[in-house]
């Protein structure tokens, strides 16, 4: 299990606010579970659509993606296109 800092795109106001938090997770799936445990309110945001940025790469759908050690991880809104 890898420890990492997760930052929130400042629009997510969850509990402690927009400061980065420390989480243990090896994949996006584990990350979401860990965050939901700490911030149950996050479920509404997940339902509306979130994406995860790992070292600048944006992942919207594949929650099996592994999160490498020391990755820069951001939770951002899910982007749609036209």
């Amino acid at each position: 299990m890898l420890g990492m800092q997760v930052s929130f795109s400042s629009m997510f106001r969850v509990g402690d606010g927009p400061e980065p938090i420390n989480v243990q997770a090896a994949s996006i799936e584990e990350l979401m579970q860990a965050l939901l445990l700490r911030y149950p309110d996050l479920q509404t945001h997940i339902d509306q659509g979130v994406a995860v940025s790992i070292n600048g790469q944006i992942f919207r759908d594949d929650w099996t993606v592994a999160i490498p050690a020391d990755a820069e991880v951001y939770l951002i809104p899910r982007i749609e296109g036209g």
Partner: protein, 754 residues
């Protein structure tokens, strides 16, 4: 089999050339079939009754007279579309948008629908439906809707993202804030501070083909839908949910699509057609008129934006703040939030903040339009940067280069950029011959940048090799502009065969797994990736068959240039086996040869562009003519350069229309005044010059060929580029788009009055 999606540099044999597209002949001969081009035996004509009021309670709908009209086979209202959305608010809004539930929320909102034996009967039936409305006060302007005394659309809308949470309902669905740094400190450092407010009017994607579908529902719960769509799998999911059908039993076939640009990513008429067919027990063809498309599909937001920007004399932007108000139509959307993500994305600004207000008004439910929310924000930001440039006496390009975002820059929405191409596009613009073209009297030049995310998403591809060695590629991502040729090129490249030996086809929902909608510039990126992997899959099988045919171990077989080669000391004297030879024997070596791939293509690269616009402003009429236009955009890797150029040019033309002429005009009565192509004027052939294009290729590290999505980005710069060109030509800074002749003339008059 898992595949590696990392970029690998290589020499291409097919990719990058300009081949003929496979669906071209059907389209130039009129054979290609679009949404309205099919009929079914016993089919009925569907028509929709729409509210003439922008906001009203629906007291009663009396369909008795209409039902008695001979030839009417079914009439539906919301009573025939029970709410099966199970607490999913997004779905509930889609349902209510497709058919009003007790209240009409915009001029054009569907209230009832009819299926009849022919067009005339359906039209007569609509007139016989008696609807009793109680008119309510309405609001159509985004700023007015935010006022405390504005008529409220949803009594349960309490603005999210505001602390403390409001106790009174309003039309503001959410407040968003993004950015980083200390903007106050940043402004304190600035030598020059500029504040401007901007407004952009609502526009429509303007696809020439109206929404159209043919729905056929059977009493046993099976159904078929032929529809013009950007995403037949998504339509299947949504329609199944709304109608209570099982996904595998609803077969959706994508017709050829006559333009979408984001406007055909959602359902409007389709659940209605299915509900009519279910009630009538006959196929129903439902085609929207052009008037209905404008009034009742999904245009963009209109906006109201304030920018404050501070810079030092050396050109460094020390702080920037954007406050943006976007209307999402009658139902809440996240358009302002998207605007916040893109507003400053082209630049590295140490202290930046974007605040977005998402607002509802009595207008149709907003849908995505090519780089949704970005063009409006870019209009405001790119215009303001030019004002700053003028104040400090620096060139427009140099100010942008001074502050340009690079690999390692933190995006306004948080994460750090990987390799991106905006600096390359600006350098290319700086040295482009367009910049040296001589400007005549009343002419001016403007430059602007734009950004759009590209997305990946779920994709599924089947590759089947015929016994003559020709290949069928079954793709699930709708082809909106020519991607079938790119997919065939990629398959040919991977397999090492001729482009002409590959035929790409868009499969229906029964023949493939889920594919996400073609949006977010994901078509070529995702389908391309899946095609590469499916081809590599097939190559694995081909090698296996060659090994069998030779009777040698698989390890001694390689695939090169379209052939299996035996390697190693023992077998390298064996003559190579071509794909055709292996395919011919496939029946006896294990059966049909195929490759398959399901992938969630992620890691799509960002697309950046810089544009140059020369405009001539007629001082007597205020009319602006585009004299010269150049698009420079980073495509990562251009699979088929003609179609990449086509995306650049088409997007730029839409942006130019948005900048100069296109707007929704609502009257005081809350009704759309210009629901047709005469008065909603999109660019025509004589409005445009040739559009020069330059494709840059900064490879996307997360795609085997380095592909970045290209479709959307170039609609973003034109509003700013045109505004900057008009300012250069006239000395007048336009802050209200479209910069139509009356607005420009009025600004010129104000300038001359001093």
């Amino acid at each position: 089999m898992t595949h590696d999606n990392s970029y690998v540099e290589k020499d291409y044999k097919v990719v990058g050339s300009r081949v003929k597209r496979p669906d071209g002949v059907d389209k130039v001969t009129g054979k290609a079939r679009y949404g309205a081009d099919v009929s079914a035996p016993g089919g009925l004509v569907g028509r929709v009754l729409r509210s003439p009021h922008p906001h009203a309670q629906i007291l009663k709908i009396n369909t008795a007279k209409a039902e008695k009209l001979p030839g009417v086979k079914a009439i539906i209202t919301s009573a025939d579309l029970p709410d099966l959305t199970d607490g999913d608010q997004g779905m509930a809004h889609i349902l209510e948008n497709c058919m009003a539930r007790g209240r009409a929320l915009y001029d054009g909102h569907a209230v009832a629908a009819v299926a009849a034996v022919d067009e005339q009967t359906a039209a007569k039936a609509l007139k016989l439906i008696d609807v009793k409305y109680k008119k309510l006060p309405h609001v159509t302007d985004v700023d007015e809707a935010m006022q405390p005394d504005a008529p409220v659309l949803h009594e349960n809308m309490f603005t999210r993202g505001v602390e403390p949470a409001p106790t009174k309902p309003s039309n503001i669905s959410a407040r968003t804030q993004m950015g980083y740094g200390d903007v106050d400190a940043g402004f304190a450092e600035a030598d020059v501070i500029v504040e401007r407010s901007y407004k952009t009017e609502q526009t429509h994607q303007g696809y020439i083909e109206p929404h159209a579908c043919l729905a056929s529902v059977n009493p046993d719960g099976t159904a078929e839908l032929w529809v013009t769509t950007q995403g037949h799998f998504t339509f299947r999911n949504v329609c199944s949910k709304l109608l209570g059908l099982e996904i595998a039993k609803l077969k959706v076939t994508s017709s050829e699509i006559g333009g979408g640009f984001g406007g055909k990513t959602h359902v409007w008429a389709e659940p209605v057609a299915l509900a009519l067919s279910r009630k009538a027990n006959r196929p129903v063809k439902l085609v929207m008129s052009r008037d209905e498309v404008f009034r009742a599909s999904g245009p963009t937001s209109s906006t109201s934006i304030d920018i404050k920007m501070g810079a030092r004399k050396d050109g460094t932007i020390t702080a920037a703040v954007a406050e943006m108000r976007y209307q999402g139509g009658a139902f809440p959307g996240t358009w302002a939030m998207l605007g916040c993500m893109t507003a400053f994305a082209c630049y590295s600004i140490k202290n930046n903040r974007s605040i977005g207000w998402d607002v509802v008004v009595n207008r149709p439910k907003v849908a995505a339009y090519r780089a949704p929310s970005a063009p409006m924000a870019a209009f405001a930001v790119e215009s303001t940067i030019d004002v700053i440039a003028k104040e400090i006496g620096m060139s427009a390009i140099d100010v942008r280069l001074k502050n340009v975002a690079r690999e390692g820059t933190q995006a306004p929405y948080g994460p750090t950029y990987g390799p991106i191409g905006i600096e390359n596009t600006l350098e290319a613009v700086k040295s482009h011959p367009h910049m040296r073209a001589k400007l005549k009297k009343n002419q001016g030049r403007g430059v602007a940048c734009g950004f759009w995310f590209n997305i990946g998403g779920q994709t599924c591809v089947d590759l089947n090799i015929g016994i003559d060695g020709t290949v069928n590629l079954n793709v699930g991502t709708v082809d909106v502009g020519g991607a079938r040729s790119s997919m065939a090129m990629i398959a040919a490249e991977e397999l090492g065969i001729a482009y002409d030996d590959v035929k790409a086809n868009i499969g229906d929902t029964a023949s493939l797994g889920h594919n996400d909608t073609t949006e977010g510039s994901r078509g070529t990126f995702s389908s391309g990736m899946a095609t590469i992997f499916a081809a590599r899959d097939a190559i694995g099988v081909l090698k296996q068959r060659a090994a069998t045919m030779w009777g040698i171990p698989l390890d001694d077989v390689e695939w090169q240039g379209g052939e299996a080669i035996a390697t190693g000391d023992m077998h390298s004297n064996l003559p190579a086996l071509t794909l055709k030879e292996i395919a011919a024997k496939s029946g006896r070596t294990g059966g049909p040869i195929a490759g398959h791939n399901e992938v969630v293509a992620d890691g799509a690269g960002m697309g950046f562009a810089s544009h140059i616009c020369d405009v001539e402003v007629d001082p007597e009429t205020g009319r602006s003519q585009i004299v010269r236009y150049t698009v420079v955009q980073d495509a990562g890797k251009a699979i088929h350069p003609d179609y990449v150029e086509g995306q650049f040019q088409g997007a730029a033309a839409q942006g130019i229309g948005w900048a100069l002429n296109e707007e929704y005009i609502y009257g005081d009565d809350g009704r759309l005044q210009n629901a047709g192509f005469l008065d909603y004027r999109i660019p025509v052939c004589s409005d445009m010059p040739f559009i020069d294009t330059k494709i840059l290729e900064v490879p996307n590290p997360n795609h085997p060929y380095g592909i970045r999505g290209v479709g959307e980005t170039s609609i973003v710069p034109p509003l700013g580029a045109v505004g900057n060109a008009i300012a250069d030509a006239t000395g007048v800074r336009m802050t209200h788009a479209p910069m139509s002749p009356p607005r420009v003339l009025s600004a010129l008059d104000a300038r001359d009055a001093g």
